[in-house]
Amino acid sequence: MLFGYHWNLTSDWAFALSILPMLLKGLVVTVEATVLGYLLALTLGLLLALLRMAPSRLVAWPTAFIIEFLRDTPLLVQLYFLYFVLPLYGINLPAFLTGTLALGLQYSAYTSEVYRAGIKAVPKGQWEAALALDLTPLRTYRDIIVPQAIPRILPALGNYLVSIIKDTPILSAVTVLEMLDVAKMVGDRTFRYMVPLTMVGVLFLLLTLLTATALRRLERRLPQRGIPLR
């Protein structure tokens, strides 16, 4: 029994059907972790990108190192670090929040590079034109650069959403009861792993396919010449 549901071991199909509600509960956690982690990655990444592009090397270089470090070390170990080290400093977060924090951190390194590449890809002439028009840096970014960078940035950011979905099972390592952990638990208790694990695979496939399809739809509707912010 799990979450108040019982499994039915009479046949594979009955078993599958009986554990579906449990897996769907795990799926909800998977989706929540994905969304939260992704939002975190989007904001933190923007911050990292801005720091990385700061005029002062004192800011830019350490940021570059942090980004590289986050990109080059395993999510699982970063997760352990947060999960075991934060409490030593009096920060006690629920496992779920620690997990989304780890997802957000690692992916902020990726998204920061996307932002940076997108902004760098705006032709130099645009900066020069803004300068010639005497626009303030804020207005240059808000009205000229960012609107043109968005169509380049969004598709790449979308790809990372799909990646984050696939990385959420790692949170099970710190006892977050997402979909894979639920399946593993069912397997541990029934000694039947094939059905729950295959179902999780299929559910992930559906989730990533649906997300990727939705993203492609969205992408096609993006105006390539840019999106004014106001």
């Binding site: 080059d72 070390t73 699982l76 352990y80 670090f81 099970s172 593993k184 792993y193 695979g201 496939l205």
Partner: protein, 217 residues
């Protein structure tokens, strides 16, 4: 307990990590070429399995794949050791991503090259091996480098199927000594160092490939 005592077990784990990464990257390259080329085949019997493999392994989580190989397969009588399950899972996963690199690089070769090959009456197979692959290979190397680093990081997940890699050793050591901060810091640094070495190695390999493919002389 000091660093000097913590380091040896971590280094033992790092060695396992390095071995697993190397083995699964090589095996993954094999899967990548087979599936990437298969996806471009004129024959459905080759194309469909390639597409299916790529979609399934890119569409699901590596950890799910590892658990499936390690926990589910034995039930139908195929028992893999943690090492085989780990290497197989990692290489199947990275191979699916690599397959898209191979396919993309092959498709990006100039159309004129294919037409010239046909005008000279090369068979499709000769065209692939003699004309297209030598030109596409150098283009594949930078994304392959990224995938190799990705694979190194992914290899940490094999600790969850009881393989004594660096992450596993770190967790183990942490449980025994409770020296959480130094152990996990050292672990992160070791991964970072290995990633730097791997990146450098892949750059070197890229230059070798360019040279061998006749692009630099």
């Amino acid at each position: 307990m000091m660093f000097a005592q913590l380091l040896p077990p971590l280094l033992r784990g790092a060695e396992i990590t390095a071995q697993i990464t190397l083995a699964s990257t090589l095996l993954g390259a094999l899967f990548a070429f087979a599936a990437g080329i298969g996806k471009l085949s004129r024959h459905r019997a080759l194309r469909w399995p390639a597409v299916g493999y790529i979609e399934v392994f890119r569409g699901t989580s590596l950890l799910v794949q590892l658990f499936w190989l390690f926990f589910a397969l034995p039930i139908i009588g195929i028992s893999l050791s943690p090492l085989s399950a780990g290497i197989l899972g990692l290489s199947l996963n990275i191979g699916a991503y690599g397959a898209e690199v191979v396919r993309g690089a092959l498709q990006a070769t100039a159309r004129g090259q294919r037409e010239a090959a046909r005008a000279l009456n090369f068979t499709p197979r000769q065209t692939l091996w003699r004309i297209l692959l030598p030109q596409a290979l150098p283009e594949m190397m930078p994304p392959f480098g990224n995938l190799a680093v990705q694979n190194l990081k992914d290899s940490a997940l094999v600790s969850l199927i009881t393989l004594a890699d660096l992450t596993y050793q770190a967790q183990n050591l942490r449980n025994i000594t409770l020296q959480t901060v130094p152990i996990l810091t050292a672990t992160l640094l070791l991964y970072f160092a290995m990633a730097l070495v791997l990146t450098a190695a892949m750059r070197w390999l890229e230059r070798r490939v360019r040279y061998a493919a006749g692009h630099e002389r």
